[in-house]
């Protein structure tokens, strides 16, 4: 039972949650600065292609770097319009996502065999951590994962500490609550927002890099498959806190993993029912987890 159902389920949960957590952590920082980055999906797909192309040129480490830069590139464009030119966040973000999906598709068609189907990209498979991976049950689940997962184990506490305990983190939160008040207190609001968007782009790019380099091993069009939007839901479910976001990413990862598992059970039910599970779960959790609304006051404006 353990071998056949529970362990594979938990492993799949962590694997599925990893790219989602990268994107959600980026989205969280952006939203705490008051910016809804709907261009996240665009950064993710850019990260997928950038990661694949860079990995072909220089191996997997260069691949992740390329993924981060590609994500940052699209986010910079978003920042330029939203922060510098004062464009509407929702419309600009949507445009960035459409641009990212279209542009990656077009670029991909120029050299599909290099990074696409049948390409042999350098992938980064699971790396068992010494000692930790031999802990019964959890060792295998938590510490026999690809490197990006371990990066997250470190990154989540760092972001949490940075946001709570540093001046820069305070500035970020202040800008999200009231850019005017923050500016009056000497915080360069525009620069903080731009940097926050840049960080979210890098995280989106790493989400894409993880998908390509740690999971699928090749690029295909639209492979981001809505993860940018799921990331936005994760931030809401995580109540705009780093640990909450990480937890919510796990909840989503678990819901998807459960969906994969349930489909293997051969139940005589329409599969669409299982596919809807993660989304139904979100609705239920959002509706039942009580507490006051804690979105940054200036979010989206």
């Amino acid at each position: 039972m353990l071998e056949l159902l529970l362990i594979p389920f938990l492993e799949a949960t962590i694997r599925t949650a990893t790219p989602l957590a990268f994107a959600a952590l980026g989205e969280l920082v952006s939203e705490r600065a008051g910016v809804i980055n709907l261009g996240m999906e665009g950064s993710i797909i850019a990260g997928c292609l950038g990661g694949a192309a860079a990995a072909v040129l220089g191996g997997s480490a260069v691949g992740y770097l390329g993924a981060a830069l590609a994500g940052l590139l699209l986010a910079s464009l978003f920042a330029l319009f939203v922060v510098r030119l004062g464009s509407d966040q929702i419309i600009t973000g949507t445009a960035i996502t459409v641009l990212g999906l279209g542009l990656t598709g077009t670029l991909f068609h120029l050299a599909p065999t290099m990074v696409g189907v049948g390409a042999t990209l350098p992938t980064t498979g699971p790396v068992p951590l010494p000692l930790l991976s031999s802990i019964p049950l959890f060792g295998r689940v938590l510490f026999t994962q690809p490197l990006p997962t371990y990066v997250l184990y470190v990154l989540v506490p760092i972001v949490a500490w940075w946001m709570r305990g540093t001046h820069a983190g305070l500035a970020l939160r202040a800008v999200g609550e009231s850019p005017v008040a923050a500016a009056a207190a000497g915080v360069p609001a525009a620069r903080v927002r731009a940097l926050a968007i840049g960080f979210s782009g890098i995280m989106g790019g790493l989400c894409g890099g993880t998908l390509v380099l740690a999971q699928v091993g090749s690029f295909n069009e639209n492979m981001s498959a809505g993860r940018g939007f799921i990331a936005i839901a994760i931030v809401v479910l995580g109540r705009w806190t780093p640990y909450g976001t990480a937890g919510a990413a796990l909840v989503f990862g678990g819901a998807f993993a459960l969906q994969y598992l349930v489909q293997t059970l051969g139940l005589a039910l329409p599969y669409q029912l299982f596919l809807a599970m993660p989304y139904v779960l979100t609705l239920v959790l959002l509706a039942t987890l009580h507490g006051r609304a804690i979105a940054p006051a200036h979010l989206g404006r």
């Binding site: 991909f108 068609h109 189907v117 998908l211 295909n220 998807f256 489909q263």
Partner: protein
């Protein structure tokens, strides 16, 4: 506006043979859509046709593009999938000089044809082959979405497997789209965790993830579909259930060009060699008795004497 002038003049002067293709997904998938594009290129090269391709996602786009090519007086417009049927039925009567064909489906009309592949016949053979190499007696089939032709193919695969050993289980799952290769991989890993050791994939681009899962798991076989996918994972692919879509497109286009086209369901079965089971030459040979069983089943399908299977709609 100036640039449009000469082009319009060309269209007016030269009503040559022109063919358009609508695919539901990217033509870089090395599967369903790639094969269609290859067919379009073959129509261009062999019949000297002017060709256009467009990727369409939603039924509204299907209709809009059907309409546009009809208004442009294209000779033949192919909607590449079962899902294009309704759009063809709606738009076809408005542009009687254009022939509309859908790959899959059963809908016909005065200028509407459906190309139907007996994909279930080689799927059955794949099931026989898969059952004979399985140690765990658990097989899996993973599709993109549950289109009727995919369902029929999976049912035939299951029937083929059970004809070898009735105790075999075939687990079926759908990803919900044809793009999410990450989900494809996880679904495959979930199947493998449930001891499946042969996976029949029909998920186009999302199938890349299924191939990756199998590449990473020694001892698990994959069966490709639509195009010959044997080279994608030579060490792990048992074979591919191939539809020679380019050949089928060429046969249909030739009819349209020669004005010998009659609206009907154009059915390609094992006899036409348009659909076939293509074993991977790099995989170990099947047991002799299994191979001869597959050969005789293939002949039976070609003669119309094969096991009764629900035909692909």
């Amino acid at each position: 506006m100036v640039a449009c002038g000469p082009r319009d003049a060309d269209v007016q002067a030269d009503q040559g043979f022109r063919v358009a293709l609508l695919t539901p997904g990217p033509i870089s998938d090395q599967s369903w859509n790639a094969a269609a594009y290859e067919g379009l290129m073959r129509i261009r090269d062999s019949l000297g046709a002017t060709v256009r391709h467009v990727q369409t996602r939603t039924p509204a786009e299907f209709e809009e593009n059907f309409r546009q090519y009809g208004a442009d007086r294209f000779s033949l417009v192919i909607g590449h999938g079962f899902e294009f049927q309704d759009a063809a039925q709606r738009v076809g009567p408005e542009y009687p000089q254009t022939v509309y064909a859908t790959t899959g489906g059963t809908g016909t009309g005065a200028n509407i044809a459906a190309i139907s592949f007996a994909f279930e016949e080689p799927s059955y053979l794949a099931g026989v082959a898969a059952a004979s190499v399985s140690r765990s007696k658990v097989l899996a089939a993973i599709g993109g979405t549950e289109l009727p032709p995919v369902r029929t193919s999976f049912d035939a695969f299951t029937a083929g497997a059970k004809s070898v050993d009735p105790s075999i289980t075939v687990l079926t799952a759908f990803i919900g789209n044809w793009d999410d290769a990450g989900a494809g991989k996880e679904q495959a890993l979930a199947m493998i965790a449930r001891r499946a050791d042969v996976i029949f994939q029909n998920a186009d681009a999302a199938g890349q993830g299924i191939f990756q899962a199998v590449r990473e798991t020694p001892g698990v076989w994959i069966v490709g579909s639509n195009a010959d996918q044997n080279a994608l994972a030579p060490q792990s692919t048992l074979g591919s259930v191939v539809i020679d879509i380019p050949h089928a497109f060429l046969l249909l286009a030739r009819e349209v060009r020669d004005s010998s086209f009659t609206p009907r369901v154009v059915r390609f079965g094992t006899a036409s060699d348009v659909v076939r089971w293509t074993p991977n030459p790099a995989a170990p040979a099947l047991r002799r008795d299994v191979q001869s069983r597959i050969d005789s089943l293939r002949r039976a399908f070609a003669d119309g004497r094969g096991p009764a299977l629900a035909p692909a709609p």
